[in-house]
Amino acid sequence: MTAPVLEIRDLHLAFPLGRSLADLIARRPGRAVRALNGIDLDLRRGETLGIVGESGCGKSTLARAIVRLYRPTSGTVRFDGDDVFATGNRRDRTYNRRVQMMFQDPYSSLNPRMTCGQILTEALSVHQMRPPAEIPARVAELLDLVRLPQDAAGKLPHEFSGGQRQRIAIARALAVEPEVLIADELVSALDVSVQAQVVNLLLELQERLDLTILFVAHDLRLVRHVSNRVAVIYLGRIVEIGDSESLFAAPLHPYSQALLSAAPSLDPTDRGRGARLQGELPSPLNIPPGCPFHLRCPRATDICRKTRPDLRSVAARGEVACHHAEEIALNG
């Protein structure tokens, strides 16, 4: 197996809240939203790793921390072996180029006052990808690559549909010839038929350009379709990670099971099937002790209330953070 492109180790990220009056009186430090609580993750070269979880679980925070939009509280992210948060790293700007992010909202992620051509030119010149004279030709190539017509270069973002805007976002990311793409809900705002077009394009470009993709999305069907491996996140921790097909076919963590069974099936005869998950995601301000999922878990026992399970290999089917995983693997 090749060495991972990105190695994330014990990543923690907390957003501190101001100290409230109550905190001052009690002479305690202010509280913090604990978004990431010890993420260990390897991104293997050439794979698509899907990240799923409910809103607020930390999946977007993880994506943003990887591209250094947020600075983690502790832990490391290594790219090709180099710590990307180490100060004075010579390869600093290179990292920005080699790992590119694409965002969910095609309306706010493109500068409304720059034409599509200017947007692509900016990316090319900031990273000095081409001598100035060759830039227009490269812009034309990029438009071709994402199948936008050549006259798109002269148009402003508002002249494009949502699907076309996401193509521009993809072209902008690819302009700097990255190795890793971080797609944070890239197609979530699009209608299904347009979604299919953009996903097809992404998979085709991945093949052609040998890209590694971290695909963050809440649409489980879509994640299953594009991913080689999938990680399920709950309250800032990975609770299960494994091969996409086997994880979707037979999830081992009770949370993964509940999450997958909540996705509405296209078969009307499936109605009322699958256990409903009770309650909501606890606040990341106040994470329960023991297993963070025990309050909503149908299998919770004493040990779950006391000890937090670590992520460990179970039955050669992936890694699971659940005290009862072996039992589940055995008996379903």
Binding site: T48, E54, Q195, A196, L222, H225, A263, P264
Partner: protein, 329 residues
Amino acid sequence: MTRDTILEVRNLTTTFTRAGRVLPAVRDVSFSLGRGEVLGLVGESGSGKSVTLRSILGLSRHYGTVTGEVLWKGRDIAPMSERQLRTVRGREIAMIFQEPMSSLNPLLTVGLQLTEVLKAHTDLGRTERRKRAVEMLDHVGIPSAAARLDDYPHQFSGGMRQRVMIAIALAARPELLLADEPTTALDVTIQAQILDLILGLAREYDMGVLLVTHDLGVVAQTCDRVAVMYAGRIVEEAPVAPLLSDPRHPYTMGLMRSVPEGVAPRTSLYSVPGTPPALDALPMGCAFAPRCPSASAQCSAADPALSRLAPGRLAACHHPVSLAKGDAA
């Protein structure tokens, strides 16, 4: 099984005019809904499904021109004045929206917003109203309901706010609920809870539901019957199971096929070629013809009428798909 029809929409057309451009958002839409029935209105953004819903309750006429009939228990409510409509809105027909934060008043407590509805639509006294408000919150699954009456909307999570919206909508025991993408902003786990809740309440009160959604999974799990909209028109209507297993309109078929299910992972997904037409530049004839795999000269000449293919099955297509049941879809 036939149920009494409570709502019948006939030839509903809603047109907006913006900067001199005429935008026909809803074109000649007709359908009916039985008591206690759940009808899904499905389509992509801009297909006119939300405008249809709003036009039923007279919310679109402030911005555009609405023609056609909206027969509510036999009485046309489309031409009614705002004053007359008030006896129907909220009391007999209630509506819930996609974004629970922007449809609740952030400055008023949840209890006040609930009792306000009861004050307007029922004869209950002050203490009874409060009691009913607690009952409603309890009913929609809000823990320690009595204690939460005095909380403001921002003190609730997204899923809880949508529950509050439903409690407010159902407080006056309406006979019809218009739900505009009620779960789109929610996580799948919460979505499943909210859909269960709406269906449970519909069954309990024998309430009709008109559910607008773009999610075919939600349709499969909740609706009795489905109408598919494209460019402002209903292009297909059928009971849910046959619609999903055996779509007859090429657009419905395209929608079904673009859902990544039953497709080998990481292979190319089917996608309907092209994009939906702009409303002020609708093509001649069938609006779907330029994107349709089975379009013929006839399709660009004449817009097909929504016609009956089989009992309960309608499609507006010159060349309806006939796919044998059991074929790989």
